[in-house]
Amino acid sequence: MTLYEWFIAALLVIGGLFTLIGALGMVKLPDLYTRLHAPTKATTMGIGCILLASMLMRLDRNEGFGIQELVISLFLFITAPVSAYMIAKAAMHLRVPLQPGSDPHRLLEKARDQQPPQ
């Protein structure tokens, strides 16, 4: 294996691990508001690494520059925070319970007033 292939292999392994860490966070974290962190950060990083590996691999096979991967990664990087924000706002107005022991209820009331459901 050449150094280029080792680099692709490292990107693939990092991407797979970050995807798995995001899924583990979905299972292990205590409530919805903490669970939002797992897919929006870890999974986005993981799929970014996998798409970069795919682009490099297609360059290596002389199939041209992977413009589709670039479009997919750009689209995902833009939409992941937006969808997480919309889910968090819906959960805040549906009054999804927080983890027992945390006490930001006063701040939550203020946030509900400042961010009306629209």
Binding site: L12, G16, T19, A23, V27, I47, I72, F75, S83, K89
Partner: protein, 89 residues
């Protein structure tokens, strides 16, 4: 060598999909299920891209692009519905 690694990484992504499906079935609130579906479609894109490299075809990337767009639109629509009780007012 790299093809074997591709299959292993696809297996890891499949394990991540199973964990997300567990959250989809279990999820105490409806927003948990929406979040699990949102994560699942991102993982499916990763899986399709890995298989696209493995089988050496560029047809799969179009499918990945379609899933990315429709997944975001469906997540936004469900969140809006949960928030307002209506999607287009």
């Amino acid at each position: 060598m790299l093809n074997t690694l591709l299959l292993w990484v696809a297996g890891v992504v499949g394990l991540a999909l199973v964990l997300n499906a567990w959250r989809l079935v279990r999820g105490p609130s409806v927003t948990d299920r929406v979040l699990a579906l949102d994560t699942m479609y991102i993982n499916v894109i990763a899986m399709i891209i890995l298989l696209g490299i493995y089988f050496d075809t560029s047809l799969y990337f179009e499918a990945a692009l379609l899933i990315a767009m429709l997944g975001f639109v469906s997540t936004a629509a469900v969140s809006k519905y949960l928030l307002r009780g209506d999607i287009i007012e």
